[in-house]
C-alpha cells in the first residue's frame, strides 16, 4: 500500500500547489485589475480611512480638505470644499459612494499618498500610517472669482487663463458650476439637469464652434507655411461664392485688396476663406495638429473628462482626407468645434513666441511633513509656429483690440493682443432653439510686448457679439492677474 500512499501524498501536494497558484493569481497577478472592478468598493473604503491631502490655490487658499468623522475602527474622512462652487470645475469632487471626478480623480494617487509597495512596507515598519499629500495648484482665487462673476453676468460659458511661458493654468472657470459639498446629496439631480449641465466642465469638455477666433490659426498656417507674408494682399469682396454657397462679410462690406493686419482687425470672412483655400486642407490640418487640435489636451485632468477639438461629423473626428469645405473651416465655421482650453492654448502659443507649453493645473506636491516631494517642471508640448510668425501674429492681433472688432478688451496702459469670435448657433436646443443665439468668443494675451497671461473667454447662447460679452470678461480677468492677482506661490 505504501506506493499508493506516496502517490496520494503527491496528489495532495499538487492540490495545495493549485491553491497557492490561485492565491498568487488573485493577490498578485490579477490584483490590479480586481482593484479596478466596479463591484470592488474596498479600495474606496480604504481610501476613506486615509487622510486625503488638501488641494490649495496658488496663494494657499484651501480648495479641498478632509475632515475626520467617527472614532477608532469607524474613523473615516469626508471631503469638504470651503469655497463651495468656486472650484467645482476644475477640481471636481471625491466621495466614497459617488466616486470622484476631474482634478481630484486625476491626482488621486498623490492625494491619498499611494507610494510603491516597498516604501509603504518601510512606512509600516516605522509605524507610519498612510497619509495623503497636499497639492498646490496654479489657480488664482481672485481671478477665478472675477471670471465666474463675469460669466454669471453674461450667461453660460467658460474662461481659461494660461501663463504662456510655463503652461500654468491660472483660471479654469465654467458657468454654471456646482457645489461639490452637495454632491453626496444631489448627484442624481446634477446629472439629470441637462439644460444647465452643471457637471460639464465647459472649459475642457464643451465643444463649441470657435467662429472668427479660428482665423488666428488660419493666419498662423498661412504665414508659417510661407503661403503669405504680412504684406501679401488678397482681394476681399463683400460676397464670395464658395462651393456654390455665398459667403458674406459683415454688412457685405467690400474691402478690396488688403493684407493680414487689416483682414484680422476687421475679421474679414472673404479674405480668410480664400487664405484657407490657398493654404489647403493638408497644411491647415497639420497646423491644427501642432496647436493641439485632433487629440485630447495634455492637461492634468482625466482623459474621459476632456474633449478633442476638431472637425466632427456626428461625433466622429474627420481627417485631412475627408470631404470638408476648407474655406469655411478657415473662418471657424463648417463642422469645426473647439474647447475654450484649446483656444486658450492657441493664444498662449502665439504669446510665447510660437512655443506651446503643456497646460498644467498642479504646481507642487507637499508631503504631510511639509516637504515638497514633486514640483511642476514646465515642458514644451510643441512648437506650432516659428518665433517670427508668432511676432507677426502678435502685431496683427494688437490691431484687433486697438482699432478693430475687439476694442472692449483694451486695458488702460497695457497693450492687448486678441481676436473676437461670434459663431451663429441658431436652432440650438441647448439655447432654447431660437434663431438669434450666438457663441461669443474672445481669445488674447497681455501685455503684448511681454505676455504674462493668455486667456480664452466664451459665452454661449447669447444674442450679443464677442466684443460685447466675451471681451469684457477677458479684460477683467487679465487685469486682475496682471495686477498681481492672488500671487503665484
Amino acid at each position: 500500500m505504501n506506493r499508493q500512499i506516496v502517490k496520494l501524498f503527491s496528489l495532495v501536494v499538487a492540490l495545495f500547489a493549485v491553491l497557492i497558484g490561485f492565491t498568487s493569481y488573485w493577490s498578485v497577478f490579477d490584483a490590479e485589475a480586481l482593484e479596478e472592478e466596479d463591484a470592488n468598493t474596498r479600495p474606496l473604503f480604504e481610501q476613506q480611512q486615509i487622510k486625503r491631502g488638501r488641494i490649495l490655490a496658488a496663494d494657499g487658499t484651501v480648495i479641498a480638505r478632509s475632515v475626520p468623522k467617527g472614532r477608532g475602527e469607524s474613523l473615516r474622512y469626508v471631503r469638504r470644499y470651503p469655497e463651495d462652487s468656486l472650484y467645482g470645475h476644475p477640481i471636481g469632487y471625491s466621495f466614497v459612494e459617488e466616486g470622484d471626478s476631474e482634478f481630484e480623480q486625476f491626482h488621486n494617487d498623490e492625494l491619498v499618498g499611494n507610494d510603491s509597495e516597498f516604501t509603504s512596507i518601510l512606512d509600516e515598519l516605522r509605524g507610519h500610517t498612510q497619509e495623503g499629500n497636499d497639492i498646490v495648484t496654479n489657480l488664482d482665487p481672485a481671478a477665478q472669482v472675477v471670471a465666474l462673476e463675469g460669466l454669471a453676468a453674461a450667461g453660460f460659458g467658460a474662461v481659461v487663463a494660461i501663463e504662456p511661458q510655463s503652461g500654468r493654468i491660472r483660471v479654469l472657470a465654467s458657468n454654471p458650476s456646482f457645489d461639490p459639498n452637495r454632491v453626496p446629496y444631489e448627484l442624481t439631480e446634477l446629472n439629470e439637469n441637462e439644460l444647465e449641465a452643471p457637471l460639464l466642465n465647459r472649459a475642457t469638455q464643451g465643444q463649441r464652434p470657435p467662429g472668427s477666433t479660428f482665423k488666428v490659426v488660419t493666419a498662423a498656417a498661412g504665414l508659417d507655411s510661407g503661403t503669405i507674408t504680412p504684406e501679401t494682399t488678397i482681394d476681399a469682396p463683400g460676397v464670395l461664392d464658395v462651393q456654390g454657397l455665398e459667403l458674406h462679410n459683415d454688412f457685405d462690406e467690400d474691402f478690396g485688396p488688403i493684407a493680414l493686419d487689416t483682414a484680422l482687425t476687421n475679421s474679414v470672412n472673404t479674405w480668410f476663406a480664400q487664405l484657407g483655400e490657398q493654404v489647403g486642407q493638408d497644411t491647415l490640418f497639420e497646423y491644427m495638429d501642432r496647436f493641439g487640435f485632433n487629440t485630447k489636451p495634455a492637461i492634468d485632468l482625466p482623459s474621459d473628462q476632456l474633449s478633442t477639438s476638431g472637425i466632427f461629423e456626428e461625433g466622429e473626428l474627420l481627417g485631412p482626407n475627408d470631404p470638408i469645405d476648407i474655406a469655411r473651416v478657415a473662418i471657424g465655421q463648417e463642422r469645426l468645434l473647439a474647447t475654450p482650453l484649446q483656444m486658450a492654448e492657441v493664444a498662449a502659443a502665439i504669446a510665447n513666441g510660437g512655443k506651446l507649453m503643456k497646460p498644467q493645473i498642479w504646481s507642487r506636491v507637499v508631503d504631510p511633513d511639509g516637504r515638497v516631494t514633486d514640483r511642476l517642471d514646465p515642458s514644451e508640448y510643441s512648437q506650432p509656429i516659428s518665433e517670427e510668425t508668432a511676432a507677426e501674429l502678435n502685431t496683427a492681433m494688437q490691431g484687433v483690440v486697438s482699432e478693430g472688432t475687439g476694442t472692449n478688451a483694451a486695458i488702460p496702459g497695457v497693450t492687448v493682443a486678441g481676436k473676437t469670435g461670434t459663431a451663429e448657433t441658431p436652432y440650438n436646443d441647448s439655447c432654447g432653439g431660437g434663431t438669434d443665439e450666438n457663441q461669443a468668443w474672445f481669445i488674447g494675451f497681455a501685455p503684448a510686448e511681454d505676455p504674462q497671461i493668455a486667456i480664452a473667454a466664451t459665452v454661449e447662447c447669447t444674442t450679443q457679439f464677442g466684443n460685447d460679452v466675451a471681451a469684457p470678461i477677458f479684460r477683467d480677468v487679465a487685469e486682475t492677474i496682471l495686477a498681481g492677482g492672488s500671487g503665484l506661490g
Binding site: I5, L15, L19, S27, A31, F45, E73
Partner: protein, 443 residues
C-alpha cells in the same frame, strides 16, 4: 534528542509566535503593547505544556511534529479571531481547551485502537445518524440554505465534523478486511477493471450517503470532502486507479444531476461560475473574498489592518471572516507570503500523517492514518479552494484556524487518533531497528 524533547522544543517558538501575534494586534488597536499579550502567550504555552506532558507519559514514541504544527495553526487562528472579535477569541480558547480534553480522553480510552474495528458498523451508523441530525425537527438548524447544525438546548454543533471521523474509521476497517477480495475479484469489462459487486455494496452505501448529503443536507463541501476521502482510501487499499475513476464518474454524474435539480446546490455552482452576475447579492461573499486577497498583495496589509466591516457600519465587507473566509483575511493581512506559510503548515501535517501511514505495521493502522490525513487535507483544500474560486464556495471550516467549537474539538480527536497510530508504529519500528542495531533518531 528524543521525540518528546523535539516536540517540547518546537512548542516554544509557537508560544512566542502567539505572543508576538497578540502584541501586533494590540499595537494596532491601542497603539501600545499590552501585558495581556504576554499573559495570553503564557497561558497558551501552559496549556500546550500540559498536553505535551500528557503525551510524554501516554504516547512517548508518537510523532513529535504533529502536535506543535497543530498548536501553531491554533495559535494563528486565535490571533486572527482575536483580531476580528475578542469575545469570539475567548470562546475559541475555551473550545481549544475542551478540544485538548477530548484529545486526552481519546488517547486514554483508545490506547488499543483496534477495538474500533469491532464496532465498525456501529460507528458507521452513528456517523450516518450524525449526518441526518440537522434535518431532524426540533434540533436541526439551517444555515444559508444548508442543514449544517444541530442545537440541543444550549449546545450547538456541526455533526459533519465528527461524522467524517466515523466514516474514516469504518472505511479503514472495512477495506482492511475486504481489500484482497476487491483486488482479486475484480473483472475486466470492456477494458475497464470493475470491482466485484458483492463486496462493493457497502461502498455504494458511502456513495449514496454523499449524494444524500447533497440533496438533504445540501452540504456540497462536506459531501465533496467525504467522497474524496473515500476515493483516497479505496485507491490506497486496492491500488486500482480504475476504481477511483469509476467512483469519480459516479460522483460527477450524481453531482451534475443534483446540481441541476436541487436549487441550493445549483445556485452554489452558478455563483462559482459567474460571481459577477449578482455582485451585491449571491456573488457578494466570493467576490469580497477575492477582492480582499487582491488587497493583500505580496506582503499583506499587516495584522489588524484589513477592513472586515464597512467603516461606520456593522455591515460585513468580508462576510463570515471568522469562519468561511478566514483564509482570505489571512491573505489580506499577511499577503501571499503569509498564505503560503499557512498552506505549508497544512502540507507538513499531511506529510507527517502520510509518514505515519507508511511506517504503520498493520493494514488497519495504515488505512486509518491515511484516511484521517486525507480527510483533514481535503477539508483544508475544500475551504481554501472555495474562497480562492478553485471550486464552489461551501461552508466547511479551515481546520484549527476557523472559529467553531465542533471543528476544533473534532479535529483534536482526529489528531489523537493519528498520534495513537503513530506511537504504536514508531515503537514497533523502533524495536525492529534496535534489533537490527539501527537508531531511530532522525526518523
Amino acid at each position: 534528542m528524543s521525540a518528546r524533547n523535539r516536540e517540547l522544543t518546537a512548542l516554544v517558538p509557537v508560544a512566542l509566535l502567539l505572543t508576538a501575534g497578540f502584541a501586533a494586534v494590540f499595537a494596532q488597536e491601542g497603539a501600545r503593547i499590552d501585558d495581556a499579550s504576554l499573559v495570553y502567550g503564557a497561558y497558551f504555552l501552559a496549556v500546550c505544556l500540559a498536553a505535551h506532558i500528557y503525551l510524554r507519559v501516554r504516547l512517548p514514541d508518537a510523532d513529535p511534529y504533529l502536535f506543535p504544527l497543530v498548536a501553531l495553526l491554533t495559535a494563528f487562528g486565535l490571533v486572527m479571531i482575536y483580531r476580528i472579535d475578542p469575545d469570539l477569541a475567548r470562546d475559541q480558547a475555551n473550545w481549544f481547551v475542551l478540544g485538548l480534553v477530548l484529545f486526552a480522553l481519546t488517547i486514554q480510552f483508545l490506547r488499543d485502537y483496534d477495538v474500533l474495528e469491532r464496532y465498525r458498523y456501529t460507528i458507521a451508523v452513528v456517523g450516518l445518524l450524525l449526518l441526518l441530525a440537522p434535518r431532524l425537527p426540533g434540533i436541526g438548524q439551517q444555515v444559508n440554505g444548508a442543514f449544517l447544525g444541530v442545537k440541543i438546548g444550549p449546545l450547538a454543533f456541526q455533526p459533519a465534523e465528527f461524522s467524517k471521523i466515523c466514516l474514516v474509521v469504518f472505511l479503514a476497517s472495512y477495506l482492511r478486511e475486504h481489500r484482497e477480495v476487491l483486488i482479486v475479484g475484480a473483472r475486466r469489462v470492456l477494458g475497464v477493471t470493475l470491482p466485484p459487486l458483492k463486496h462493493f455494496g457497502p461502498m455504494l452505501v458511502v456513495w449514496g450517503a454523499s449524494m444524500f448529503m447533497l440533496v438533504f443536507i445540501r452540504d456540497l463541501g462536506s459531501s465533496l470532502m467525504f467522497f474524496a476521502a473515500f476515493l483516497a482510501l479505496l485507491y490506497v487499499a486496492t491500488g486500482r486507479f480504475s476504481f477511483v475513476a469509476i467512483g469519480m464518474a459516479m460522483f460527477l454524474v450524481g453531482a451534475w444531476f443534483f446540481a441541476s435539480t436541487v436549487p441550493h446546490v445549483h445556485d452554489r455552482v452558478e455563483i462559482w461560475l459567474d460571481p459577477y452576475a449578482h455582485p451585491k447579492g449571491s456573488g457578494y461573499q466570493i467576490l469580497q473574498s477575492i477582492f480582499a486577497q487582491a488587497d493583500g498583495g505580496l506582503f499583506g496589509k499587516g495584522f489588524g489592518q484589513a477592513l472586515i466591516t464597512i467603516p461606520g457600519t456593522d455591515n460585513a465587507l468580508l462576510p463570515a471572516a471568522q469562519t468561511d473566509t478566514i483564509y482570505s483575511l489571512i491573505v489580506n493581512e499577511l499577503g501571499l507570503f503569509g498564505a503560503c506559510g499557512v498552506v505549508m503548515i497544512y502540507l507538513l501535517i499531511a506529510a507527517r500523517g502520510f509518514k505515519i501511514a507508511l511506517i504503520a505495521g498493520d493494514g488497519f493502522s495504515k488505512l486509518l492514518a491515511t484516511g484521517l490525513t486525507a480527510v483533514f487535507s481535503i477539508q483544508a483544500f475544500v475551504i481554501i479552494g472555495g474562497v480562492t474560486r478553485v471550486i464552489p464556495l461551501t461552508g466547511v471550516t479551515l481546520p484549527f484556524i476557523s472559529y467553531g467549537g465542533s471543528s476544533i474539538v473534532a479535529n483534536f480527536v482526529l489528531l489523537a487518533l493519528l498520534l495513537l497510530v503513530s506511537d504504536r508504529a514508531r515503537r514497533e519500528a523502533g524495536a525492529e531497528a534496535r534489533l537490527g542495531g539501527l537508531a531511530l533518531e532522525g526518523r
